[in-house]
């Protein structure tokens, strides 16, 4: 089963036999062109390194000053959560919850799940509920939207720059770096390799 894998295209259902794919290459569906499998070099180590970096950046991004806003002598300093909190106070709970989930909670779940999966696997131990945790990571993928939030920051700054001075905080830079680290973490993770570990778990 390990040498000549059968895999069905998730977009057109065509069954392919996967041979050895060189690192950096990818297997594409011969009928619809969907990417079937892309092997990653040194996946578990690199993904773990990125996850650890991500945790540090995440903590900074959520605890330090994010953006400052100054008109004359009045300065308002905000954190990442300020807007969410204000929306709650304005009875805009749906939006506040949506922003909380997509910008704060989903990235946190992704980081914690990666540590939960990869720390034991790097020590040759298969963690409990590995399959369930990995399924959660895959399920939540579309709902982490930090990069869209970044575009939102840019638009807001352009909108406000004429009426006030915008002061970028430490958390903003951490947030910026975190977007790239999280994206890299998702790309370096070889899901297939982890699923094989699940299969061979006792």
């Amino acid at each position: 089963m390990t040498h000549t894998h059968l895999i069905a295209c998730h977009e057109c259902d065509l069954v392919h036999q996967l041979g050895a794919i060189p690192t950096g290459g990818a297997a594409r569906c011969s009928r619809c062109g969907a990417t079937l499998y892309r092997p990653k070099a040194d996946s578990l180590n690199r993904t773990l390194a990125l996850a650890l970096t991500g945790v540090i950046l995440y903590i900074i991004a959520n605890t330090h000053p994010f953006l400052g806003f100054q008109i004359g002598a009045q300065i308002r300093e905000t954190t990442l959560a300020t807007g969410i909190f204000q929306l709650y106070q304005q009875e805009m709970r749906t939006i506040a919850t949506l922003v909380l989930i997509t910008v704060v909670i989903v990235p946190a779940i992704h980081l914690v799940s990666m540590l939960y999966i990869l720390l034991p696997l790097n020590l040759k131990v298969v963690p409990h509920h590995l399959a369930g945790v990995l399924r959660l990571v895959i399920f939540l993928k579309p709902w982490g939207m930090m990069e869209v939030f970044l575009l939102g920051i840019l638009v807001s700054v352009v909108k406000l720059v004429k009426m006030a001075t915008i002061i970028p905080g430490v958390a903003l830079y951490a947030f910026l770096a975190l977007i790239f680290v999280l994206a890299a973490m998702m790309v370096t993770l070889d899901e297939h390799e982890v699923w094989e570990r699940v299969e061979h778990a006792p």
Binding site: C12, L14, G83, Q90, I95, V148, L151, M163
Partner: protein, 211 residues
């Protein structure tokens, strides 16, 4: 047998949606033995669910664009802005690239996504044979672009956080923002509900039902 492509369904197999393991297809509903996700040869009720979500999103799209998404109070005067009035503000203030970004993300992308999904659903129901590769590409596009419509929700969140200076200037979210958020979430769920394999089922000259 001639030119009949070996799909998982034809071979009596079912691929797990979550971990891609191929399993024997059984009559009873079972979970994937490797990852525990429920196994379905095709997403259950894909067409009905996707249509329901597309129609719901189309209904929300109207108040999302008509109702104000922000109320700005500045020195006692209240100004309400819709998405389009925000776009027009940026055009007048000379930042037309920003105007374009907001217009594309907030007005154009949700509409495009709804039209593409409606087209794909119709094409599957009518069993059109037209360009399956391109239709699959269109589906991939809807999956990628939808998230960028959250832009305006985030702009509102950031404005509300920063512009909170009491009587001098305060921005509050308006009801349009709630409908707008609903459009984004519901269209994402609609894209998720649609099963692109249905496009290909129709290409195979089989007599089995498409659902």
């Amino acid at each position: 047998m001639r030119n009949q492509p070996p799909t998982a369904r034809r071979l009596g197999l079912v691929a797990c949606r979550s971990c891609h393991l191929l399993n024997q297809r059984l009559e009873t509903a079972v979970d994937c033995p490797r990852c525990g996700a429920p196994l379905h040869s095709r997403k259950p009720n894909s067409i009905a669910r996707a249509w329901a979500l597309v129609l719901a999103a189309a209904v929300f799209y109207i108040p999302a664009n008509v109702l104000p998404i922000t109320h700005t109070t500045s020195l006692g005067a209240v100004q309400s802005d819709t998405i389009m009035s925000g776009v027009i503000y940026f055009i007048h203030s000379g930042s037309w690239p920003v105007a374009l970004v907001i217009f594309v993300a907030s007005v154009f992308v949700p509409l495009l996504k709804l039209l593409i999904l409606a087209f794909l659903l119709l094409s599957v129901q009518r069993r059109w044979q037209w360009r399956p590769v391109d239709r699959t590409r269109l589906y991939r596009l809807t999956e990628v672009i939808g998230r960028w419509s959250m832009l305006d929700i985030y702009v509102v969140t950031i404005l509300v956080a920063l512009v909170h200076l009491g009587a001098l200037a305060t921005i509050e979210a308006g009801p349009g923002a709630v409908f707008f958020a609903a459009v984004v979430v519901v269209t994402m769920l609609a894209a998720e509900a649609f099963d692109p394999r249905l496009i290909w089922d129709n290409m195979e000259k089989s007599h089995e039902r498409a659902d």
